[in-house]
Symmetry: C2
Subunit: 346 residues, 2 copies
DNA sequence: ATGAAAGCGCTAACAA
DNA sequence: TTGTTAGCGCTTTCAT
């Protein structure tokens, strides 16, 4: 029951706990024979150090927290996969938290992480400013923070790994325009920075193309499939029906796709659709989904590296802002002929 | 930097640390005024208890570990989502580990969890018996274990939440046979229990239908898309080409789908395909995927509940074996006409 | 109703 | 080269 401790090993061997500790931490000031004896007994008993006790002494848990808003979106899972690969090879644990796009839940999760004394937090924030106070307190308490994907909480100083969201919106929208669509609508996200930037990109693309931006073609939707479905349904019933839609992300785009089908219309013939985020298997859908992609696994890796390097260096060097460039992926949903597609995709 | 501690609060108020502790733990033997004073200061300073110190004293971390073999398979992510919902509402943290189907990595992850003194581990095991020793030591050390999805390590006593894998294989295969296919192949997984059971179900369905089981139509593939692709490619080049395939899971089935397409053939006309696990968006694929489904979120929830109930009860009651029943989901890839589909699909 | 003391398992000065 | 002592922040007897 009671697992073996350093004390047990020390007693067995008639040495002090300190000696055992030093051996296990590879300190130089230990005799070869003692070291060997300790190591032997350690192996024999299958001793595993108690990380909790270690953490208490060192005031370092070697544990990171990750808070993401949607576990069912493959985008975030890929980010997590990237993170996990780095953290685990460097001996860090990863506490997983899901805010479900709910600032209240996010707050609870952040608190849980704070109590557990994580060394760092990776956050894709759900709420605009609701939890800024907590984040301030966290960083003030010495917790390293890196924000990913969502560029909110501008007053918080921390590393950030994001993409160029305005460019995301611009790429998708101008592509739709280039396909000859003139009535391009936008299913927007909630009022948080990266969603607004995608809307900005949408607007800019229209303006650049000399098209008018119509307020009633920008519909506040959300990041989930159900949000996209609802928004598209509304768009289809508007007096002037759009012939193309840029959805704030791929789940919303898929919701839109379904809404179009349920209305008895076709994608892309009646409505062309583009999303963002390059959801898993988007290339295999009944109508493959045109989207904007950026390196998701790398995003996770970069976030982990920024965090761990800062922790290892104990360094308070300048906060970094890593921008992962987006790239258009043209597929069927935006209404390109097979020939054209081959040119621009992949 | 140094976050506020109970000591700090005690000094501020001129009481003892014990008193503060008692207030925070809602002990009855504290005067109302003292209690109020302490609580006020706690709120004022935004005191957060140090869970690491607490864990060391109580020898309980209120943290669970989850080890899964494939983070990019939506099946496991849904299981995790179910787990997370339960653990977090009950105040537990969740340490996420990804074994990548690699027993060595799994071993390292389990060790990390052991060192971190998790109260319990949820495991979807990658290796057949490689890590049984470690699991024995873990449970002997008082760590609660619940195995999910994969029913390996038969000598380990623990709760299990699985599905009826033989029935999974039987449902999928007999459905393919019912569609009139006579040359039904199987893309199998590695030699671990639940994969073997699916193969058993495949064989039984054939035998029940009076069909011969051909060894060269059972191909050792694997759980990943690439495994399915390779296996299908081999099947397509065998001297007698099968007209249907049951793949051990949906990622493998999708790999098979791609292989068929890349060979210039059609699904389901030339080869019908069925998978298992009901991958996200399988209903929206170019050819929607016939599969076998079972409650994944519930699986995660049940696992968490079994674990936490056992922990809370500190109970050594009989180990439970929860079997989540599988159900066939008929879609286009198995070659049903639209009319029939409506009847049998969920 | 309150507090002193011991201890959870470990590391880190500082002596010896 | 080794050991003694103190302490990380908390809970828990057991006195008072």
């Amino acid at each position: 029951m009671a697992s073996t401790t350093m004390k047990r090993i020390a007693e067995d061997l008639g040495v002090s706990v300190t000696t055992v500790s030093k051996v296990l931490n590879n300190r130089a000031d230990i005799g070869e024979t003692t070291r060997a004896r300790v190591l032997a007994r350690v192996a024999e008993l299958g001793y595993q150090p108690n990380a909790v006790a270690r953490s208490l002494t060192l005031r370092r848990t070697r544990t990171l927290g990750i808070v993401i808003p949607d576990l069912m979106h493959s985008f975030f899972v890929e980010v997590i996969a990237g993170l996990e690969a780095v953290t685990h090879t460097r001996g860090y644990g990863l506490l997983l938290c899901n805010s479900d796009e709910d600032p209240h839940k996010e707050r609870a999760e952040l608190q849980l992480l704070a109590q557990r004394q994580v060394d760092g937090v990776v956050l894709a924030s759900a709420g605009a400013s609701a939890n800024s106070d907590l984040l301030h307190r966290l960083t003030a308490a010495g917790v390293c923070l890196v924000m990913i994907d969502r560029d909110d909480h501008p007053d918080i100083l921390c590393d950030r790994v994001i993409t160029d969201d305005e460019e995301v919106g611009r790429l998708a929208t101008s592509h739709l325009v280039a396909q000859g669509r003139r009535a391009v609508a936008h299913i927007a996200g909630p009022s948080i920075v990266h969603a607004r930037r995608r809307a900005d990109g949408y607007r800019r693309a229209l303006v650049d193309a000399g098209l008018r931006v119509r307020a009633d073609w920008i519909i506040r939707g959300g990041f989930r499939e159900s949000d996209g479905y609802r928004a598209m349904t509304r768009l289809l019933s508007s007096k002037k029906r759009p012939d193309a839609v840029f959805a704030v992300n791929d789940p919303a785009a898929i919701g839109a796709l379904k809404a179009v089908w349920d209305a008895g219309l076709r994608v892309p013939e009646d409505v062309a659709i583009a999303g963002a985020g390059d959801i898993a298997h988007g290339d295999l859908l009944r109508v493959s989904l045109t989207t904007v992609t950026w390196a998701r696994r790398d995003l996770g890796k970069r976030a982990a590296e920024l965090l761990l390097d800062r922790l290892d260096a104990d360094g308070a060097n300048r906060h970094r802002r890593v921008v992962i460039p987006p790239r258009l992926v043209v597929r069927a949903s935006s209404g390109v002929s097979a020939g054209t597609e081959a040119l621009s995709s992949g």
